[in-house]
């Protein structure tokens, strides 16, 4: 995935779309104050300068699906591991809730189900049937909308055609009004995301840690 920080307006449509697509539980002000909200994608704001010359920078942060994910080796039950497609998968059924993966994630993109999830009426009618509702005690995080990836692949097989570049779009990518996010196959050198990732504006968040994240942030070089 590539995210163009020069286009991002910080509108947080991606956050809302993710909530809707992935059945994220709704928190309460009480719990939010305790630090228990879950936003698989969040927009970090960085303020520079003094009033009236304040500049705000926005950075949407989601699970970077690292190739050398620090969260993977530490899970004792293999609830998180790297699948053949290169996704860092989270298997809800296998998670016993040791919290180790969340401690080891340098991007703080992992969220825990502190209670059984609740939705104030009538939000529970809006649930996406393709996505599991996680029980209490289980860790969760962005999956690159794996349900959309699976659907896209299945459709391609059924219709007997190859997947087109840009055909699969996670909810956040689809909803961005500034079209700042691009999703595709990094293994395909012709895909749009590969070209953007190889461009001169491409950076990685905390890349120096060696996690090999697969989210590339495009920003003007200083």
């Amino acid at each position: 995935m590539s995210i163009d920080l020069d286009r991002c307006t910080g509108c947080e449509a991606c956050v809302v779309a993710c909530h809707a697509e992935n059945n994220l539980p709704v928190s309460s002000p009480d719990q939010a104050e305790k630090g228990r909200t879950a936003h698989w994608i969040r927009v970090d704001r960085y303020y520079e300068g003094e009033f009236p010359d304040v500049k705000v920078k926005y950075r949407p942060v989601l699970c970077q699906q690292c190739d050398n994910a620090p969260c993977e080796p530490v899970c004792p039950t293999y609830a998180t591991y790297h699948n053949a497609e290169g996704l860092n998968v989270q298997v809800y059924n296998r998670c016993v809730g040791t919290f180790y993966c969340a401690n080891n994630c340098p991007y703080s993109v992992r969220f825990f189900n502190w209670f059984a999830p609740e939705w104030p009426e009538p939000l529970q009618l809006q649930h996406n049937p393709d996505v599991a509702i996680r029980p209490a005690g289980v860790m969760e995080k962005c999956t690159f909308c794996v349900q959309r990836i699976q659907r896209g692949k299945r459709d391609a097989v059924v219709e007997n055609r190859p997947l087109a570049d840009g055909e699969i779009q996670p909810a956040c990518v689809q909803s961005c009004p500034a079209e700042a996010m691009v999703f595709g196959d990094l293994n395909d050198p012709e895909s749009r995301v590969s070209k953007l990732a190889g461009s001169g504006r491409s950076t990685q968040l905390l890349g120096e840690l060696g996690t090999k994240p697969k989210v590339f942030y495009l920003e003007r070089a200083k």
Binding site: Q31, G35, P76, F99, N103, A136, V138
Partner: protein, 439 residues
């Protein structure tokens, strides 16, 4: 008769003194046991609430995913190193003053391991599925991830528990044989079964001594590895100020430190409660105090080295944690820890005139508090100041966590009191190593 050297007391008197606590039981004893049991039940109720309602009833949050439970876990496993140091090292070096102290120390080890070993289950989001960490053949053909430090924890602690129980049991066998003539029928049966038909033949004694010498070496190797592995729960992660190579030796020395403090405290209480003033003399407390002082200096050295290197390296994500610990939110805990772990023992135990049994016990209590705070300082500030500082947070424990923590202390008291009523807390046969002529 030189009463200052207890080994020269008549054998009959020694046996009477050391076996008396097994039969007499004052009302003070039973009140303590039941009060402690009440606290344990309260803790179990708190855990029940947590299992029913979810981990949200604790104070844990994002990013502080580990709190009291992990602090308690490291704390109790740390204290369990008491038995190993005293029993094993002093046995191997044949230090005579260890004799009345070994069984009390080994009992501390076993019970602390049992209590500490509960926390990897208590802290789980889905505790009832803890057995998924155990490698057992199952129809889904799933194995746990052996690369995870938590699996290393499991194996290490299981090994240590097995070794410690055997190490506690071996020297208990001859005493069981002696007690097998006890007057209460159910005790007679218990002791006879536990004595395995020990007759006291020289073959048995030789085998026992050889086994104990081997076990001392093995248990030493295991103990060092156990707390190193526990420390690697933190050091193997890349969280700032956790990913440090010093954690292995730091935790092992800290464990021995807190273990000696616990042992000192327990012996001080036993001495008064069971009337063992003749057997646990000032000499023993003096030696233990010197060991405590030594470990305090070692603790200070490791802590200083760790913080000095972080400060000098000036790496931003580590400095955020450092600032939080020294000057920021966690500063009160940090400085209380330094006072409790270093200043108090240094003053009270370093100055010869001040080193008495009472000041040793005060120092021990301070060290136990200080070491609990040290674990807290290690776990919480790092998690509260993650690399992405937009995710930083503060942790406030709830009554659930306090209740469970209190229950573990109470549980330790119950287990230890019951143990002292069932088994002699000082190994009678070890106490008199040579057959002395009766007058």
């Amino acid at each position: 008769m030189a009463a200052s050297v207890p080994e020269l007391l008549p054998y009959a008197k020694i046996r009477e003194d050391l076996f008396r606590p097994l039969s007499s039981g004052s009302s003070r004893y039973w009140i303590t046991v039941f009060a402690a049991l009440a606290v344990v039940v309260l803790g179990m109720a708190a855990w029940g609430i947590q299992v029913r309602d979810g981990m949200g009833v604790t104070g844990l949050n994002r990013p502080v995913f580990w709190g009291f439970y992990i602090v308690d876990f490291v704390f109790w496993i740390g204290i369990s190193h008491a038995g190993t140091l005293i029993s094993a090292i002093l046995r191997l070096t044949d230090a005579a003053w260890r004799k009345p102290v070994t069984r009390a120390a080994e009992a501390i080890t076993v019970f602390c391991l049992m209590i500490g070993g509960m926390f990897p289950i208590i802290h789980l989001g889905r505790s009832w599925l803890f057995f998924w960490l155990i490698p057992y053949p199952n129809p889904r053909m799933l194995w746990p991830n052996f690369r995870s430090p938590l699996l290393w924890d499991l194996v290490a602690i299981l090994t240590y528990v097995t070794g410690s129980v055997i190490y506690l049991y071996l020297p208990l066998i001859p005493d069981m044989a002696q007690l097998a003539e006890h007057n209460v029928p159910w005790r007679r049966k218990l002791y006879r079964i536990l004595s395995l038909g020990w007759t006291g033949s020289d073959r048995e004694w030789h085998a026992l001594e050889r086994a104990m010498k081997l076990m001392a070496c093995i248990i030493l190797a295991v103990a060092v590895s156990v707390h190193t592995v526990v420390s690697w729960d933190f050091a193997m992660s890349i969280a700032p100020m956790w990913h440090s190579t010093i954690f292995g030796p730091y935790f092992v020395s800290g464990a021995i430190f807190s273990g000696i403090a616990a042992l000192l405290l327990v012996l001080g209480i036993l001495r008064r409660a069971l009337g063992l003033e003749l057997y646990l003399t000032k000499h023993h407390f003096d030696n233990l105090s010197k060991l405590l002082l030594l470990m305090s200096l070692l603790w200070f050295y490791f802590t200083f080295a760790e913080y000095q290197t972080v400060w000098y390296g000036n790496e931003p994500s580590e400095m955020a944690v450092f600032a939080g610990r020294i000057r920021g939110l966690y500063a009160p805990y940090f400085w209380i820890m330094v006072v409790c772990n270093f200043v108090v023992p240094f003053v009270l135990l370093g100055i010869r005139k001040l080193r008495t049994i009472s000041t040793a016990m005060i120092s021990s209590v301070c060290v136990i508090i200080g070491m609990w705070l040290e674990r807290y300082i290690i776990v919480v500030p790092t998690l509260g100041n993650p690399r992405m500082n937009t995710a930083s947070g503060v942790y406030t424990a709830t009554w659930i966590e306090f209740a469970i923590t209190a229950a573990t202390f109470a549980g330790m008291i119950v287990l230890y009191l019951l143990f002292s009523k069932l088994f002699p807390i000082i190994a009678v046969w070890e106490f008199k190593p040579h057959a002395v002529e009766e007058d």
